[in-house]
Symmetry: C3
Subunit: 312 residues, 3 copies
């Protein structure tokens, strides 16, 4: 397995690659918890270039890098502070930064920015979100979480709930899930923020079973995974339109009562009311904080792959 | 001695705990100066979450952590940049961050925020200022400075000067001083920013001798410690009210002439005119920069206590 | 060779000092590329205090420090966030920071700020730009780049192009070049942003040959180095004035066709149109990204000199 960059989830459309990756992720998790992590990235330098803030994502990359013995140079507001304001091109910034680091994590508001960066960089680039584009490490940690929590991916019933139109995590995750046999999906959302046609087409081509719904009550008893995303008020024409739908998509303790005991609730976070805090106490099924933590180990494994493949 | 979090100075209302702590602080200071610090926190990760800027405090925690072999993930503007702006609760941010780090230093403008954080965190939380609440590590370094500079705390005469109403460092320090026998205090301030009644009551209950004054000339010859705080213009009804008092509380070389040769002047810093730069050259008595430096060693000792107590 | 601070390029007006420095820089570059860097700064702490943003400069210092085994505490927006906004003097900030670190890199908008900092600091200060003043590490990396790319400095013909009036990198570099025999210079700029008289006087006193030009076509065939700087629109009385000159100073592939095969194009970066991206593909002569990377090694060598000279 060799990686030059991590730009798109499509680089991982291969279950044997995913298995290899997740096996390393599981090892790293054990090693971290058992305090026997080895400094596999000692002497390596990671640059985190965030043109938009995302403290959570930045922290998990930087923690991952340092736990493996590497070092970090970081900017949490590249857009405001770097020479970007003087008009420097992203390409130039990347070329220069790639002279100071062994890999670059890039968060940038423009679609395609990560690919542009990779085209000129002398070191591996990780796409940590390129606006409406992708955030592949999030999709990988989502998939890893399902695998780890439920022991398998094959045959699972997964509900995606909330903003399915703009939610890039949903778009990436459904493509990964489609790689596994007998996975079926429910897409639960208000119509105005429903799943774009191209993803329905994609799933049909892959022969994946799925349904569109506007509420989730009818499926609570069967699903294995409830993947919830944030519904943003700004997506609706009016406050009334927003109010009329939002309550139907809130996960409460009552929701969980109707779910299977071995099902899980996930959320890419941050949440803002989609899952009530009362749900947190359901240690078994409230998986979203464990999901966030898994990001640490997935990113560790990716950092290793990128920087070690460059060495040889 | 076991610490789960550092939230309030009241956790240290025990002179034997303070003695144990300060003995470690003194050792760490020697070890740092002699270049024989051991990496007691190797493999540990500290997250510094600052919702308000405080470069000084952040730097001292981050320097302390790294000098002990640990690593740091940091944000100096959590309020502007994190998912806080998307409406995430402090609790969620803390839960997620506690997945990436072994301890969290939190600076947050809201009273009680540190306690809320500690309630949900999986790792120790250090309160680095919760608005009008507390800043316990500052109080500890203040007390350590007095002990180190003067060799004892018992029996000292301590003047607190400036804004005694809003100055949380004064409130915390007076409570720590009250633990030691025969300490007496002078509270010197304009009336409008005088010491709140509850602290006077507290001291009376503890049997501590103290006086309120509106000038310090009469006591300069007797005091051992002059603890100065910043007087903020905004506290006064008018510019005239401010002007009428501010000069009476400025420490000059002349002030020091009337003080004992083995007394000290302290300030939590930043200062803005309360102590003239001319005072700095009095190496013996101008203790405020040494005081700031002591923060490094006090924080080292606390970081050790928090992360080592978790290990066992 | 002993350094207490790095404040001005004038500290390096000695070719034997430069030779010693550059020999160490070359060693560090080799060691980094061969993965055999030694942790010469292990246990040392660098504080980077940037009152103005400069991600590039900050990154190169922080990467340099960590590659040598040292640690970093950093603020990328000291002016917005530190106690500066409460009115603390730069001197106080420096005194306190020098208690937490073994060296300070300072970027500050005011002329003379670095010297003021050095006057009160307990640890070495590196001037990383003091407004209209100096940025000595840039000048050193510029000179190192010329030496490395062309094998010598003696006898070279160097054209400085663009904003010669406000461009502090030009002012510093010309002084360093003047130390070497038979160097001749061309100053190519619109008159309104021409080289200040005092530098012409300086060069005359040193017996250096130079010419002022308003276009570079006539010299392309003879020069060894083309050092380009950014022309800022704000320097011109009107948009028309700006438009009338800017195109004459843009480097294109056509420009390079007329230059010698063993000449180089340099730029302190960021560039905003002065050198077209098409030039980048001229691997031999487009030296500006290598120039940026050299900053890493020059800063490594300086950090070693500063922190090691303090040890003994």
């Amino acid at each position: 397995m060799k990686l030059d960059h991590v730009l798109s989830v499509s680089q991982f459309f291969d279950t044997s690659i995913l298995e290899q990756l997740f096996s390393r992720v599981a090892y790293l998790e054990q090693a971290d918890k058992g305090n026997y992590l080895e400094p596999t990235l000692k002497g390596k330098m990671l640059a985190t270039l965030f043109y938009e803030p995302s403290t959570r994502t930045r922290f998990s990359f930087e923690s991952a890098m340092q736990k493996l013995g590497g070092n970090v140079i970081t900017t949490e507001s590249a857009g405001m502070f770097s020479s970007a304001i003087k008009g420097e091109s992203l390409e130039d910034t990347i070329k220069i930064t790639s002279g100071y680091a062994d890999a670059i994590v890039l968060r940038h508001p423009e679609l395609g920015s990560a690919a542009r960066a990779a085209a000129v960089s002398e070191v591996p680039v990780i796409n940590a979100g390129d606006g409406p584009g992708e955030h592949p490490t999030q999709a990988l940690l989502d998939l890893y979480t399902i695998k780890k929590e439920l022991g398998r991916i094959e045959g699972l019933k997964v509900a995606m709930v909330g903003d399915l139109r703009y939610g890039r995590t949903v778009h990436s995750l459904l493509q990964l899930l489609a790689l596994f046999p007998q996975v079926s999906m429910y897409f639960v959302s208000p119509e105005v923020i429903g799943l774009p046609e191209k993803y329905s087409t994609y799933l049909k081509e892959k022969g994946v079973q799925f349904n569109h719904l506007q509420e989730f009550d009818s499926i609570l008893g069967e699903i294995d995974v409830m993947y919830v995303t944030r519904i943003q008020k700004e997506r609706f024409a009016s406050q009334d339109d927003y109010n009329s739908v939002k309550d139907a998509f809130v996960i409460t303790s009552k929701t969980l009562e109707k779910m299977k005991s071995n099902s899980i609730v996930m959320h890419p976070l941050p949440r803002v009311g989609e899952i009530l805090p009362e749900v947190d106490s359901d240690n078994t099924r409230a998986a979203y904080f464990r999901q966030a933590k898994n990001g640490l180990y997935v990113r560790m494994a990716l950092l290793e792959l990128l920087m070690q493949s460059r060495q040889t």
